[in-house]
Point group: D2
Chain length 246, copies 4
């Protein structure tokens, strides 16, 4: 009889604990970096191949400007920024096993480049950086990694580049919310990084019955150490001293 | 002027392509395995520590019986089954960086065991298998991997065990939908496996404003090669010849 | 007394087993690929920055021609060839933690490129392909992966590219024997591939008291499924039918 | 003509750089851990299945005592120690693709256990810890990871456990030198850790024409940030303050 009471009380306490999902929090320090996934035309430009399904989410979140804010914060506060791009080459179109969106991305020529060692046709293409980000990416503060090939950084050098600089906490934004951004959040968590996500510095495809953005926000909240809005992040950074060289 | 028309037509075609999200499909063959994540009391038993938040989803999906059906299909059709469990030891409670649900899981003692080399208190605990699955797991057809430690198989030997048996396609079920199950789907896709998910052989925490199950189903549909219901999978298997030894 | 005899006999049997190190063997089939690491000037050209320490080993093994034979075999017998290159960018020179040869490679400017998205100064540089391999690498039969960044394929997309084509066995050659080639052998074994190494289609730095080539051959023999010479491999391939399109 | 002189001088300088292989060095600090691979009977006990081929090297290096010194240093100076064990279960004997020593290890029953969830027959077996290490391993200062399954930590949770405690530099010893110990050195380097190796707190199989220990020492020197002897490491630690609680 006593055991039942204990069990009941324990259940109530656990349910309360679950309802109050903890927010472990995130402190920006000298071992922190900003990571931006896929800041490329095919996601963020009205000319990009996915604008028809992601454009509304990009506009509602003000994603293009919010990602630019992340680049600016990195520069202003001397926090390194890592860009993880997405490129496909002709040989990637020969894959025998693919998931739904992999098939789609190849069908619509998303992120296509001619060759890893060719820049022919690259400038201004869907695979190129959104024009307004180029002045940030082409500075010494930004490390551009090798391309990821499915959604996550398992297939590029992002984790190594972070570790080789002593980074162990990351602030994450970029495209698209439930695919590459979430895949980076998940893999970086598996690698033991502290991860915060900026939920309006990203956006996602919204299809009939499939709201990619809502799925991402749910998983950000459950998996990351903290979820920021861009405004909250700006406020958080303002407590730090400005990089005096810039 | 002509360019605008071409662009418009291209946009319409791409939007149609996106709206008709492809379904690459999945064929069960001799290189296919079934994978089950976390078939353990803390998720699936009314006595488990998460029942208060996952119980409703487990009951609505008929998850407990559907996972049992996966075990039965493996046995009947001679398809190997791999179980990827989730255990925490005292030293895991000393982690310095954690995400929201990692903190919660440790707070509520989820999946806790005394020691990797001790079985004291394990039998019937939240970390133990759901009782009705034991007769399947304790056969030669099932490989139990080392525990995963965050959500995905990056920290255990699942990928190696699959590859060492020549498996390159997997059918995935288990708990919980948007956490370990989805993390396994994503990592196995990054490793080049063909992945199908059984969407009612899983379930998830549903919190106020955070529907883990809906998030998972969205990502299953976008990322996997195919999404089955358990009934559809049973029907698909029925086209194969039965394992005559069993 | 009896136990001692059993123990003695067991020890003798085990020692015999060890002395007769098994050779599991390797069968070339439709799931087999050839992998070549670092076929670049800095290792293989007399103008390359490491020629002073690897040149002797390259010449003794006839490495340059033997690697060319691997490219030819792939083409003739329609076996896909994957090239895993080694590039360093300016930001790689900012790494805070490095091993001995990483420091050295950066000191001597090995494999340096200006930028992942720039080909300025690349043609004919130490990072470029050895000239005589270009005609093979620039065909559809060859997949060039992203660069590895330490020694192994953990930081590039080689494993994914192999798996996406259904490859599960690899024949390995390239430079240098105990560093990138061995690192590829080891990581591919950890990923569950069957691995054979061509021991004279590679070479290594030989320093006073540090014979990199001997170290590599020892580990090839102990870790790989089979070790070929180039001649043996040619003979093995000759049992297969020639690609009639080429 | 002038170009030839520049080339000649450059070559001489590079050769000198190579001949003087850099020693990047290693500083023990609060982010440093000790890692010990396979401190188990099958390698270190005269009753172990490999003693016939590794025993001589173990005795020459004084490996058993030197590994014990590593455990003692961790305790005395409050440096966490991580043990990465090697276990094989019955299902591991069904692997279809294996390298030479994997075949051998399975043939001789090395590291065999009955089941991950059974301790039947484990106590004192070849898979158990060497008896004299048990008092160290069974303390709170030591984290025992899941077993690695080939040679490296790719298949267990070592990297995560290190990162979750904020470790980014490791001191490595254990068995056997050119197999699991070297595989751990290499993978930890690929993961961006600073790695030092204790070259006489390890040993290796020495077969006719295959000296595993020499191979390992060559690769330790070329790949690690620093190579210590146990005496040098003791001396290095003596500069630190002693853990006052012990």
């Amino acid at each position: 009889m006593k055991r039942i009471w204990i069990l009941l009380i324990a259940t109530v306490l656990v349910n309360q604990a679950m309802a109050q999902l903890p927010d472990p929090g995130f402190t920006i320090d000298d071992r922190t970096a900003i990571i931006i996934t896929d800041p490329q035309n095919d996601f963020l430009s009205p000319d990009g191949v996915t604008w028809g399904v992601v454009g509304k989410s990009v506009q509602e979140n003000n994603t293009v400007d919010n990602i630019e804010t992340l680049f600016k914060l990195g520069e202003k506060y001397d926090i390194p920024v890592f860009v993880s791009p997405h490129y496909y080459y002709p040989h990637d179109h020969q894959w025998k096993m693919e998931g739904a969106l992999e098939v789609l991305m190849h069908n619509i020529g998303m992120f296509d480049r001619k060759d890893a060692l060719s820049l022919e046709g690259f400038e201004g293409s869907g695979a190129d950086w959104l024009a307004q980000y180029k002045k940030y990416i082409e500075t010494e503060n930004v490390v551009v990694t090798s391309p990821h090939k499915v959604y996550g950084p398992e297939t590029n050098d992002l984790v190594l580049q972070l570790r080789k600089r002593g980074i162990d906490k990351v602030i994450l934004g970029g495209m698209s919310a439930n695919l590459c951004t979430e895949a980076h959040m998940r893999e970086l968590a598996e690698q033991g990084f502290g991860v915060a996500v900026v939920k309006d510095a990203t956006a996602a495809a919204i299809l009939p019955d499939l709201n990619g953005y809502e799925a991402a926000v749910t998983n950000f909240r459950m998996i990351a150490s903290h979820v920021y809005t861009t405004d909250e992040l700006v406020s958080e950074f303002s407590k730090r001293s400005v990089n005096s060289n810039k």
